[in-house]
């Protein structure tokens, strides 16, 4: 089971990539934990998670080919 993760804004400064595929992740909470273990800098960021383009407020089960995107707030103008 593969899911695609996309990151935006300054989040990529921590991951070093824009897009990456992860396998066998049961839900978004597990994905978040995995990402924050691999890239501890993410822990201090306040970002939102979108599953298939839709922002989610709680952990959600993942399915094959799901797409998760991490949305940071921007303040610049």
């Amino acid at each position: 089971m593969d899911v695609k993760v996309l990151v935006f804004g300054q989040i990529r400064d921590y991951t070093g990539w824009d897009e990456k595929t992860f396998s066998n992740i049961p839900d978004t909470e597990n994905l978040k934990n995995l990402l924050e273990t691999e890239y501890p800098g993410l822990k201090k960021l306040q970002y939102q998670m979108a599953l298939n383009h839709s922002l989610i407020a709680m952990s959600t089960t993942l399915h094959n080919l799901d797409e998760i995107a991490l949305l940071p707030p921007f303040s610049g103008g």
């Binding site: 996309l6 935006f8 383009h53 407020a57 940071p72 103008g77």
Partner: protein
């Protein structure tokens, strides 16, 4: 208003826009907050297209490093107030419209005096405290808010708080319920910005204003549209209303907010404790355990005595919390984090405040 001059011919020619659309633009009142990288292109095209009344708020003066993107300003304007220079430049562009300059910083102490006079609010500011404050004010006085923001080579666009056939679309806090900790993201002053990006996002913001003002098309509501100028790609984030709004509930709460402090609360980790730490705290008489869930939510928590104070009432009833150590909890730990932040705001260092990390979902109730 006069729509007979040739000036607006090309817009009036447009099917679906026409004389009616132009009349609506000319009778619209739009308040643009921030006359900077986003504000300048927004103001320029709105003035040229004939928005009848433009308000501009900014307390800043023009500096040389503004000139790559703040296209209403010339080198000879350096040191002058942005709003006054912008107002003059816009008057030169279109003398038929009315321009009101407000040469001060918009805060929660004056926003509610200005917003009611306008139909559409535009957020072209460059910091989180202004963005949260502007959103909260727009929500309280029921004004649509056109939002744009940038970070390095990317930009975000949305229209918040628009009444769509009686249903209010999402607000900024539905996407970002709480401000990020101050150390987490850098701003344009630290990261830099290409002039062309603020031009692109600013013009898209102006396009949303024109659509709202004239009633054409579909506004960019219930989503954040993300643009990457390096790859020329975009991505849509659909936003849903949150069950528990985090903003001030009424004008009184809004006026009492300290947005600068609100957006500089350090990371939440310091407020969180785990169940072992809680256990040792519960042996102290001075600890009050607070269930911030709604009454009736399961599981019932019986391990220790606790009081019920649903999140929505935390701020108004905080004064009744008469112990020195306050520990909030909920099912997952999210609402209790919010409650702890609010209690910290209210009590500062006079009480010790914690949120139970991860909530009681993992069986603490057993």
């Amino acid at each position: 208003m006069n729509t007979n001059s040739n000036r607006y011919n090309r817009q009036i020619l447009l099917k679906g826009f026409g004389r009616e659309g132009q009349k609506k633009l000319l009778s619209s009142k739009v308040l643009v907050i921030g006359a900077g990288g986003l504000g300048c292109p927004v103001l320029q095209i709105l003035a040229a297209s004939g928005i009848g009344h433009l308000g501009i708020v900014d307390d800043d003066r023009i500096s040389p490093d503004n000139l790559t993107r703040q296209i209403l300003f010339k080198p000879s304007d350096i040191g002058k107030l942005k709003v006054e220079t912008a107002a003059r430049a816009l008057k030169d562009l279109n003398s038929e419209i009315h321009i009101q300059a407000y040469p001060f910083r918009l805060t929660n102490k004056n926003a509610l005096d200005l917003f009611p006079d306008y139909d559409i609010i535009v957020d072209g500011t460059d910091n989180f405290e202004s963005r949260y404050m502007i959103n909260d004010a727009a929500v309280l006085v029921h004004k649509p808010l056109v939002y744009g923001a940038i970070s390095e080579f990317e930009g975000q666009l949305s229209v918040w708080n628009y009444q769509d056939e009686g249903i209010r679309t999402t607000q900024y806090r539905d996407a970002f319920p709480n401000p990020p900790s101050p150390s987490s993201f850098q701003n344009c002053n630290e990261l830099g910005v290409l002039g062309v990006l603020t031009g692109i996002i600013g013009n898209l913001m102006a396009s949303e204003v024109v659509k709202l003002a004239s009633g054409i098309g579909k506004p960019c509501t219930n989503r954040i549209w993300m643009y990457n100028s390096l790859n020329h790609t975009s991505y849509d984030f659909r936003i849903h209303p949150r069950e528990i709004p985090t903003g001030p509930k009424n004008q009184k709460e809004f006026l009492e907010m300290d947005y600068v402090k609100y957006c500089s609360i350090p990371e939440n980790q310091g407020l969180q404790i785990n169940s072992y730490e809680l256990e040792s705290l519960m042996n102290q008489n001075d600890t009050l355990l607070i269930d911030v869930r709604e009454p009736g939510e399961l599981p019932v928590f019986t391990k220790w005595d606790s009081i019920s104070l649903p999140l929505a009432q935390v701020r108004e009833k905080a004064v009744q919390l008469n112990k020195n150590i306050l520990v909030t909890f909920c099912y997952s730990g999210k609402r209790s984090d919010q409650a702890a932040l609010w209690l910290k705001e209210i009590f500062g260092d006079s009480k010790t405040i914690y949120s139970l990390k991860g909530g009681i979902k993992d069986g603490l109730s057993a």
